[in-house]
Amino acid sequence: MKLMKIAASAVAITAFAGIATAAEQYVPVTAYWTGPYAPGGSGIAGGWVDYMKLINKRGGVNGVMLKWEKCDTQYKPDLMIECYEKMKGKGAPMIHPFGTGLTYAVFERAWKDKIPVVTLGYGRTDATDGRVFPYLFPALTNYWSQSTTKIKFIGQQVGGMDKLKGMKIANVHHDSAYGKETTPVLEAQAKKYGFEYRNFPVAHPGLDQKAIWLQIARQYKPDWVILRGWGVMNPTALKEAARVGFPRNKVVGVWWSGAEEDVVPAGRAAKGYYAAGFHGSGTDYPAVQDILKEIYGAGEGELPKERVGSIYYNRGLVWGAFTVEAIRKAMERTNNQPVKGEDVQWALEHLEVTPAMIKKLGLTGLMPPMKLSCADHEGGGRAKFMQWDGSKWNVVSDWIDSDQEIVRPMVEASAAKYAKEKGLKVRDCK
């Protein structure tokens, strides 16, 4: 009898443990904490995880606690696939591959497994067309949208878009799929506004760029330079620009060229340089203050305290907030229970993050509003521009809307081509 009681208790404990586990939401955190891109990876992942810690301190998402698992991809596609395969069966509601190349490595697998792949500020641009790519979400803003905001920003700096006519723009880009991705949209913009542009590919990793910058400064002599770099390529480019005497306040970087890690190593050479961004910098936001107080105050922060408020860290907060709000929305389908990939796919196509919601999250000014749909997996497409003053980034523009007249037809054409190649049926989103 005693044995029966023990057995019954064991069953009860096991069942209770099962319920406890069921009340946790698994979140895979794939990032790169080691390898050449670890400065960016550790920063974004740090902000993301700190945000989830803050949510848990406040009782989780609708009472469901977040439980995350980290997997280091080192920014390598093979490791990304390994991480994905390891984590997909554990209840992954979505995957952030954390890199364009890594996205290409897993998005078709995830699609088959019905797990949404979220690529905030990177990834495959034509996946903006949700009719063709139901499980891929280049949300907030994609590369083509960003490219149009850069040209608009340059237009603002020179006194109007009509002043772009006859100008020369050098496109210094990483010689990779990521680096080349904006070339078609730049071509379309050049036709529309009448400027001339020339591509200057930089071989990875871009440790020495004398040849490129000598061509730019002595031969091509552009009015502006677009810097589409990654990692060590960015500070090296700014130093070489200084060396050949090209003014840094005529260089505009993509957001993967616009973190502290991209300018601090360049020292004085970076002063005056502009970069795009899709979120705010610094710590002057209620949620960041809460993180400093509740997470770092308790000694539970992911990173050294001085990295809080950096560009990469704040980008991680946006990723964290986006993840949490997608899960919250998906819980509408599960009666506030943990969610799966298909729930999140539905949620993402119905997700609207309003200014009021952002204020409630304590992220006003840091996170932009957005509204995604079945046909539009981007849901935003805006960018702000910042300028490095030698010690910090200062926001120097309002939100600049992308030029969807150029971007959307190109997105649809590219997505349709993909659908044709793969023999896919295009969804009707009406």
Binding site: W33, T34, G35, P36, Y37, A38, P39, G41, S42, D175, N199, F200, P201, V202, A203, H204, P205, L207, D208, K210, A211, I212, L214, Q215, R218, Q219, G231, V232, P235, T236, K239, A242, R243, V244, G245, E261, V264, P265, A266, G267, R268, A269, P304, R307
Partner: protein, 305 residues
């Protein structure tokens, strides 16, 4: 396509000078490889990781508030400890093994040191200011329109001093001769009383010093970050061209490779889509290898059966 070089001679000259100055920086990294190869016959795959480890250690010392010169001394001491550990744990058990085994061991070491560097000192990017101005020499710029910075001149001077010092060390000192004997034949060197373990520890410590100098200069140029470990890729064609066991070859090879990659990028690159400066020197070095396998200044080994 090369007619542009003749149409714009001053521009072509600036490109070549820029290349020579880049080449000197590659030579600094190549010297570390040469040192270990010359003294032990091992191609040290981990030299790039040593550059990263040394630079990160040095910059962290500075960030801890340690005086500049004391930071150099502490970093050198840490590099010595690392060298002794490598000799004791990795190399000593492999004495008399084929060189390919030792090479494989350095591949493992490379990843170990890279991981150690990031594990101990973190993954952040650090700026490093050595106090050498990076502005171009104004007089030269005004007179001929060619941009050369004080930093580049200083780097060239430091590289020259290192070559001079290492040449004296290898050719004029007893220890240097012992190093060369070990490289020729481990067993023969041991049989005449040369203490192999001490020699290897000394060699790796010296490579650590070279790595620190390269790491400081490259760290000041591009920031102290993981990418410093990738510098090894820039040194390889230099070594193939100059010869793996020649100090002078590392310098001459560096100058040629530097000038060649810049010239090819500017005057050939635009015709083939650009971004050729990484692979073009390898093509050149490979072709060169077919005609002179030992490199420009490398020792030609003749083995009699």
């Amino acid at each position: 396509m090369l007619e542009f070089a003749f149409q714009e001679p001053m521009f072509a000259l600036e490109v070549i000078i820029g290349g020579l100055l880049s080449g000197i920086m590659y030579s600094l990294v190549a010297l570390g490889f040469v040192l270990i190869f010359k003294a032990s016959g091992i191609f040290n795959f981990a030299q790039g990781a040593l550059v990263l480890f040394a630079a990160l250690t040095f910059v962290k010392m500075l960030e801890f508030g340690v005086n500049f010169w004391l930071a150099i001394v502490i970093t050198l001491a840490i590099m010595m400890v690392l060298a002794l550990s490598i000799e004791r744990v990795v190399l000593r058990p492999l004495v008399n093994q084929p060189l390919i085994i030792l090479f494989m061991a350095t591949i493992g070491l490379n990843f170990l040191i890279e991981g150690l560097a990031q594990g101990i000192w973190g993954a952040e990017v650090h700026s490093l200011d050595l106090g050498i101005p990076e502005e171009p020499l104004e007089g030269l710029m005004d007179a001929v329109g060619i941009s050369i910075t004080y930093f580049e001149l200083a780097s060239a001077g430091i590289a020259a001093a290192m070559v001079f010092g290492l040449s004296i060390f290898f050719n004029k000192t007893r220890v240097g001769r012992a190093l060369r004997a070990v490289a020729d034949d481990h067993q023969a060197a041991m049989s005449v009383g040369i203490p192999l373990q001490h020699i290897w520890a000394l060699t790796w410590a010296a490579a650590g010093i070279v790595a620190l100098v390269a790491g400081m200069l490259w760290g000041a140029k591009i920031g102290v970050q993981f990418s410093l470990a990738l510098l090894a890729l820039k040194a390889l064609p230099v070594l193939i061209l100059g010869g793996f066991d020649s100090v002078a070859g590392a310098i001459v090879g560096g100058l040629i490779i530097g000038a060649l990659e810049k010239f090819s990028e500017v005057f050939i690159g635009p015709y083939v889509g650009g971004a050729i400066e990484n692979w073009f020197p390898y093509v050149f070095a490979t072709v060169f290898l077919l005609f002179r396998p030992q490199g420009l200044f490398g020792q030609k080994i003749i083995e009699r059966v």
